[in-house]
């Protein structure tokens, strides 16, 4: 029967506790997360525990830094291939981001508009103010209208003077040319019912014209919602493309480093250790692709800024084109990085298990 002496040998100076444990329980600092390492630390004294913990976590951090750096250097070793991959990733990431940013801008532009469908009743100009006033009171009693607002001829004139660029036009008239307007909000906002209400109101005596406005704002909002949904679908598809591109690139890297993986496993590398460089490749692909995509989007928005400003000026609107913003940029980069990591994870979990020393090198029996 074997005795403990066998297993008390090969530990290095960096792992004082390892010699106390039987074979399978020698986690090195590079294999475990901080909490796990803590759990497997020796039960000797607090002092030693702390030293060892610090030592291991330092070694763990150093290892991660090294692997991250090497993964980045590896990308630099094949600059053309890496750049091609990154360009594909950047375009795939930039397209949905750009669409969503543009839609965000359109929404900001239309947000100021009240999407509630109103009907404007233009009253006949011959009617006296008193008659219009009593007419509007009658409207208030109706059940099917939730709000009635009278804009008298005088008020209309003042508003026109204040808000319109054509105020001096009014100087040419002897009397006020503007009709009184009664704005009503129908209870029923069903797009099919609204025209009926409009027709009914238009037929009332004293009403010159009834106009259902804001209908187009609703339509625009619906179109925007549709476009946004479309962008999400497109984004999802392109995210899938990013996963596949990164996965495939990492798969090829794994294939090209097959010998290294085999030898590492033979001399005691854990799955986590073997996996790590490839996950970092995916991480870098995601992050760098994301950064490149961010640049593309900002550039595209910059190109749009001037015409957008010109358009806004035409409508006397204090509109300013919004970029991705801090939050948007952060979301974009995080998503890109996570996609890169997931893509490499897919490739790694599929292909690394296939590379096992026993299976690959069955020579002589």
């Amino acid at each position: 029967m074997a005795k403990p002496e066998h297993t008390q040998h090969n530990t290095g100076a960096t792992r004082p506790s390892a010699s106390r444990q039987p074979l399978p329980h020698q986690p090195s600092a590079t294999d475990r997360g901080p909490t796990e390492r803590n759990a497997s630390a020796p039960r000797r004294g607090a002092q030693q525990h702390r030293i060892q913990f610090a030592d291991r976590s330092r070694s763990w951090r150093r290892h991660h830094l090294n692997v991250a750096r090497e993964a980045l250097l590896r990308l630099k070793q094949t600059p053309v291939a890496s750049l091609m991959t990154l360009a594909v990733l950047a375009i795939a990431l930039a397209l949905p981001s750009f669409l969503l940013a543009s839609l965000g801008n359109l929404q900001a532009l239309t947000d100021g508009w009240d999407p509630q469908p109103r009907i404007a009743l233009y009253m006949q100009t011959e009617l006296s103010d008193a008659a219009i006033d009593s007419f509007s009171r009658e409207l208030m009693l109706r059940e099917d209208l939730s709000s009635v607002e009278l804009i008298s001829r005088q008020k209309g004139l003042e508003d026109f003077r204040q808000y319109s660029a054509f105020a001096d036009l009014l100087e040419r008239f002897d009397s006020n040319p503007l009709p009184a307007v009664i704005m009503v909000l129908p209870q029923d906002t069903d797009p099919l019912q609204l025209p009926l209400v409009r027709n009914e109101l238009a037929a009332l005596p004293g009403v010159d014209q009834a106009q259902l406005d804001m209908e187009w704002v609703q339509r625009l909002a619906a179109i925007l919602a549709l476009a946004q949904r479309g962008s999400y679908v497109l984004g999802g598809l392109l995210a899938l493309a990013v996963l596949l591109v990164v996965g495939n690139t990492v798969r090829m890297t794994i294939e090209s480093r097959r010998d290294e993986i085999l030898v590492s496993k033979l001399v005691g590398a854990t799955d986590a250790w073997v996996r790590r460089p490839f996950l970092y490749s995916g991480f870098w692909f995601g992050l760098l692709g994301g950064l490149l995509a961010w640049l593309l989007v900002q550039l595209a928005l910059l190109l749009l800024a001037e015409p957008a400003q010109a358009l806004a000026d035409l409508y006397l609107n204090a509109f300013e084109l919004q970029g991705l913003g801090f939050q948007g940029s952060l979301i974009m980069l995080t998503t890109a990085t996570l996609l890169g990591l997931s893509g490499s994870w897919l490739a790694v979990s599929r292909h690394l298990r296939e590379i096992e020393p026993g299976v690959a090198s069955s020579g002589e029996a």
Binding site: L23, S59, V263, A365
Partner: protein
């Protein structure tokens, strides 16, 4: 006390080929032994079972105190870190220097880089290749490559050293050098098991000899 213990071990490959048929033996700690037999007798399979590159179809393999059949897949790396292995085809990586090849097991085990460098140089010094540490192994001769493989196998001072045809491609003089090196490790307490079919060399070495024939252990002594 046994460094390695095989208890009625059978190994049948998926192809139906029987590689080992009821192998029983014990290798004491600090012992040095040769494993011989014709090609295909099961030498490599036996070594692979110790490394858990294969699992036995029946029977038990013990390394030190550890029953390998109870070892979960995730624990295999920690078993391998306790064993030094010299491969017939030396399994060196040609994308890095001799030094980096030797330091790889230490890197994997998470040694401090300065400590690892010191140990890797000591191992290279032991096999007489310290001057070549910065070379790429591809520029070395076969014998030198084999010695780099040995340096890598002993760099973490394993209690157990396995070698699969370590002198396979070497001329007799170099072979003897290599065997002498194994003898040195054994003299400082390392358990050594060497698979080899080079009978004339083994006979001169005066060590225990395990002979396999068609998967059965036919001679021990």
């Amino acid at each position: 006390m046994a460094a390695i213990r095989f208890s009625n071990v059978f190994k049948r490959y998926a192809s139906g080929q029987d590689a080992l048929l009821g192998v029983d033996f014990e290798l004491a700690s600090g012992e040095m032994a040769f494993l011989t037999g014709h090609s295909g007798a099961g030498k490599s399979t036996l070594l692979r079972l110790i490394m858990l590159m294969e699992r036995p179809s029946r029977g038990q393999v013990w390394v030190g105190q550890q029953d390998l059949s109870r070892l979960h897949r995730s624990q295999i790396p920690y078993l391998r870190r306790q064993i030094g292995v010299v491969f017939q085809n030396h399994q060196l990586l040609f994308d890095r220097s001799v030094f980096d090849n030797v330091a790889l097991p230490l890197q994997i085990s998470g040694y401090d880089p300065a400590d690892a460098a010191r140990r890797a140089r000591a191992a290279l010094d032991k096999v007489g290749l310290l001057a070549r540490e910065k070379h790429n192994p591809v520029t070395l001769s076969t014998g030198e490559q084999q010695r780099v493989g040995i340096a890598r196998a002993i760099v973490h001072k394993p209690k157990l050293l396995l070698a699969d045809e370590p002198t396979g491609n070497l001329d007799p003089e170099l072979s003897e050098d290599i065997m002498r090196l194994f003898g040195q490790f054994n003299s400082i307490g390392t358990t050594v098991l060497i698979a080899s079919h080079d009978l004339s060399l083994i006979n001169r070495m005066q060590h225990r000899m395990l002979t396999l024939r068609n998967g059965r252990l036919v001679a021990d002594g």
